[in-house]
Amino acid sequence: MKRPPRPVFLAPAGYRRKRLRDAAYLLPLLGVVLLLIPLLWTPSDDVGGVGNAASLLFVFGVWAGLIALAFVLSLVLGPNAEGAETRDDLP
């Protein structure tokens, strides 16, 4: 069996969807990077350490941001989730 020829460039709609899938793969990585920022902080009980409330607000802020992005992505990708996909979509 041989692979059928595949177009090198995709139509805009397909292109857009592909890039959104890329975004879906990247989103958790973004979350991990942002949640590793506390590693740089000085402990809260040290002098000049990050404030209790500030640290709390930062983490919840990152969290809420991720949820918002995931919501946007789910609107586009959700209806698509059932379909089979081509090899290109694999990481």
Binding site: P4, G31, P38, G49, N52
Partner: protein, 895 residues
């Protein structure tokens, strides 16, 4: 409101009764086909919230009071996994559905060549990991009762009883709603609905307490932020290792906890629900953990020193005199605990019955007895496992007492189940993983976890202080808290790092060094390339299986109706009529998958394998799929679909053609048979009447001959009547006299007319199911029944002949089965019994009466066709069995 111990008990019981009602109503709705709204993305997301157990509800505040921000890792890890659903969850869900996965043990076992050993290892790890977790839930319920009863007159003895009764009640609930179906892919609508309701209750309860604390006690948002800044607990401790480690551990546990896998994968029925859950679930856990720090800070401020921070959620409303709010908080905690225990026990019970009991059962029983009562055994095992798992949890609770912090127990469980992660991820992303590698990794990781974390959690009673300080037998580098001499690491991190490192390392190394069996490679491709499969790869190549044996097996595992339905639909798909499809490799594959939905992949494979006999997968078969890249192509899928369709059409055409030539031949044969059937009585009549005309015949002889002449003349009349009847039916000239009547009365009449009341034939009936009002031609229906009953009376050759008549209704159709316990009708003759004059070969020994003309079943078939129904031979019932089906008529609407 005055809260007493009894009020508390009463409220709890009322709440449980409400859950029963919800679960019952959901099950009922699902059974009547109204399951759409039961299965919305919202319900799916809410069901995921069993991640938030009593540990979240009470323990998170305690955790925050002790370690600040760290409690958030427990919710951030899963949030990252769900937000990144495109990576792992989407694949797990798809694999779960295509492979009919029943549990996480089933997933890993199925991936590694449907190995029952791997399944058993994962099951044992899960039981060891989850037992403390269940104990934690019982402990939280007992603790909250204690908090309430302090000063309310209840003694500590009562509290122990509370834990015991809670465990018993949960066992009953889980058995009733969780182990009624055997096929988990039929899903537990009742349970899922109940936990969705509980998800709302616990969220509302925690929010109510939070709102009360922030606006009632803390002085609004600015006030509470000031208090947090001034609190004695540092939010960020600076321990980056624990922060990263716990993020990873909670993410891992979210995927590998049996209950999470159950709701995420097994109960999922639409990939698209994941998209909604990807933001809704993180939102849920964000909201539920929003007020944790405020509650902790205000609790530390207001409650007397030394209060257990695990109980702040409850203690704050109580100490402020808000009984109603306290009660709501109590119910929230109760919800968290009960929903977790229910799903966890279902998941564990499924694993124990499928991966420990079923393989044992199969190895003890010989191949002949295989699957006899398997369904009953599995269900029984599942129920016993529910009780067993809850019992273990209760024992663990009794052993450890109420002294340990809730979050500590939870993390031990997380680390335990995380041992499944390397095998699971390696299995779905890497084709090179082998069963031996996975087994090695699992065992090594579990051993390290038990040694460094699980056993030390029992304190010095299990591992003496001597061993903790110097290692077993004085071997220093084996000290539970300092493996290989690396000291000073946080004990939890120490255990997690070493166990997962050795686990993943040995899995990879051994996999690289060993060679997988064919089935492992095949399953590897199926799992890793789940999105690219053009169709299911064939696990079975050739088959020496008797389809009827397969049907008997399927009936024992899936239940009679489901199995017959499956076989019938497959036969239809193959373009055949009747209940028996050809045992094609594709069908065997489908059957095995259906069975796997009930008993797990390993047991299903073994069961089918014992009947099929031929080699499952050979190296040549593998070569066919070896070039997996080629297999991926979408267009080949289309081609395959097309050629399958052509096959179907060709088959249908061939069958039609066969039928036509057969009809022509049959017409000839029919005339010749009529000639024969008429000439036979005519022969006797001519011969005897000629003798009667002679002189010198004895008087006795003459009388006997005259009687024979009369009997044979009657036989001819009957035959002519039948022929006429048949021809009228075939021409469609018959006018039906539709009347309303009770099916049971028609059956009564048939049994009476067939003369079966006094014979040796025992007739077994189910009066309750027979009370069906029907509108049809009752006389014609009775005619069919009479035929079937008198056939059984004449031909059933069992020592104690028995005819079982069972009635059931399905979608406006009434289905009546007549099954006897004789030797049945041999397969080749089943095709012809409904043809005219198809008398079966040979009379049974000792049979004296003349047989009918062989028109009976042919007439039955015509009658049923006129009534808009059908009659068919039902294979695989032990004896001869016929199924009569016909529309119930207008009476169905009048009900």
């Amino acid at each position: 409101m005055i809260l007493t111990f009894n009020v508390l008990i009463g409220v709890s019981l009322g709440y449980v009764a409400m859950l029963f009602a919800v679960a019952f109503a959901a099950d009922r709705r699902a059974r009547t086909g109204q399951e759409r709204w039961l299965r919305s993305p919202l319900v799916y997301t809410l069901s995921l919230s069993i991640y938030c157990t009593a540990w979240t509800f009470y323990g998170a505040v305690g955790y925050a009071a002790r370690s600040g921000l760290e409690y958030l890792t427990i919710y951030l890890g899963p949030s990252l996994v769900v937000v990144g659903w495109w990576w792992i969850l989407r694949k797990l869900v798809r694999i779960g559905r295509t492979q009919r996965i029943t549990s996480i043990a089933d997933l890993v076992s199925s991936r590694f060549g449907k190995s029952s050993v791997i399944g058993a290892i994962v099951t044992l790890i899960a039981v060891a990991g989850v037992t403390p977790y269940i104990a934690l839930q019982l402990q939280s319920i007992a603790l909250t009762f204690a908090a309430f009863t302090e000063g309310l007159g209840g003694g500590p003895a009562d509290v122990d009883y509370v834990a015991l009764w809670t465990a018993l009640g949960l066992a009953v609930f889980t058995i009733v709603f969780g182990t009624r179906n055997l096929d988990p892919s039929e899903r537990h609508h009742g349970i899922v609905m109940a936990i969705a309701v509980e998800a709302v209750v616990k969220l509302v309860a925690l929010l109510a307490v939070g709102v009360f604390v922030v606006w009632g006690l803390g002085g609004g948002v600015p006030g509470i932020l000031r208090r947090i800044d001034a609190a004695p607990i540092p939010m960020w401790s600076g321990d980056g290792g624990r922060w990263v480690g716990l993020l990873f551990l909670s993410a891992a546990a979210f995927l590998t906890l049996p209950r999470m896998f159950h709701v995420l994968v097994v109960e999922n029925d639409d990939d698209r629900h994941l998209a909604v859950a990807s933001w809704a679930f993180p939102l849920y856990v964000l909201v539920i953990s929003l007020f944790v720090v405020p509650i902790a800070v205000v609790g530390l401020e207001r409650l007397p020193g030394g209060s257990n921070p695990d109980l702040f959620v409850l203690a704050l409303p109580i100490s402020e005199g808000h009984g109603g709010l306290a009660l709501l908080a109590f119910l929230g905690g109760f919800s968290s605990a009960t929903s977790m225990v229910m799903v966890a026990t279902i998941a564990l019970a499924t694993m124990v019955s499928n991966h420990i009991v079923a393989p044992l059962w199969l190895s003890v029983r010989g191949p002949v007895e295989v699957a006899r009562d398997l369904r009953g055994t599995i269900l029984l095992a599942r129920r016993a496992s529910v009780v067993g798992v809850l019992g273990l949890g209760y024992v663990y609770f009794q052993l450890t007492g109420a002294g340990v912090a809730l979050s500590a127990i939870g993390l031990i469980a997380f680390a335990g189940v995380a041992q499944i992660l390397p095998a699971m991820l390696g299995g779905i992303f890497w084709r090179g993983g082998t069963a031996i590698g996975a087994g090695t990794g699992l065992l090594l990781g579990a051993a390290v976890w038990i040694w460094t974390l699980f056993l030390p959690s029992f304190g010095t009673a299990v591992i003496p202080a001597e061993v903790m300080a110097r290692g077993p037998f004085g071997i220093g580098w084996l000290r539970p808290d300092a493996l290989f001499g690396i000291e000073g690491v946080d004990p939890l991190l120490h255990a997690v790092i070493w166990s997962l490192l050795l686990n993943a390392g040995s899995f990879t190394l051994v996999s690289l060094l060993t060679f997988p069996k064919p089935l492992e490679r095949l399953q590897g491709v199926q799992f890793v390339n789940v999105f690219e499969q053009s169709g299911p790869a064939r696990t079975w190549s050739r088959s020496g299986a008797e389809v009827e044996d397969l049907l008997v097996l399927a009936q024992r595992v899936l239940g009679g109706e489901a199995a017959l339905g499956l076989f019938q639909s497959e036969a239809e798909g193959q373009g055949k009529s009747g209940h028996l499809p050809d045992p094609t490799p594709a069908f065997l594959q489908r059957l095995e998958r259906e069975l796997a939905g009930s008993v797990g992949a390993a047991a299903a494979h073994a069961l089918v394998g014992q009947l099929v006999q031929g080699p499952g997968v050979s190296v040549e078969d593998l070569m066919a799929v070896a070039d997996e890249a080629a297999q991926i192509l979408e267009y080949s899928a289309r081609l395959e679909a097309k050629s399958a369709e052509q096959d179907r059409t060709a088959r249908a055409l061939r069958e039609a053609n066969d039928k036509l030539t057969q009809l022509a031949r049959q017409k000839d044969a029919f005339l010749s048979r009529i000639s024969h059937e008429l000439r036979t009585p005519m022969t006797s009549i001519r011969s005897f009447s000629s003798l009667l005309g002679e002189e010198g015949l004895g008087e006795d002889d003459a009388r006997r001959f005259a009687r024979i002449v009369e009997a044979e003349a009657q036989r001819m009349t009957r035959l002519l009547d039948d022929l006429l009847d048949l021809s009228v039916l075939r021409d469609g000239q018959v006018s039906l006299k539709r009347r309303e009547g009770l099916l049971s009365e028609v059956i009564d009449r048939a049994i009476l007319s067939a003369g079966a009341m006094h014979g040796s034939l025992r007739i077994v009936r189910e009066p309750a199911s027979e009370a069906v009002p029907v509108v049809t031609d009752l006389d014609r229906l009775a005619q069919v029944f009479i035929n079937l009953v008198s056939n059984a009376r004449k031909y059933c050759d069992a020592e104690r002949p028995e005819l079982r008549i069972s009635v059931r209704r399905r979608r406006g159709q009434v289905i009546v089965d007549f099954a006897d316990n004789g030797s049945g009708i041999p397969a080749p003759e089943r095709e012809v019994i409904f043809e005219s004059f198809a008398r079966l070969s040979g009379r049974r020994a000792g049979q004296s009466e003349p047989t009918g003309a062989g028109l009976g079943l042919a007439i039955c078939r015509e009658v049923m066709a006129r009534l808009g129904g059908s009659i068919a031979y039902l294979p695989g019932q032990g004896g001869a069995a016929f199924r009569v089906a016909f529309p119930q008529g207008h009476a169905a609407a009048a009900e």
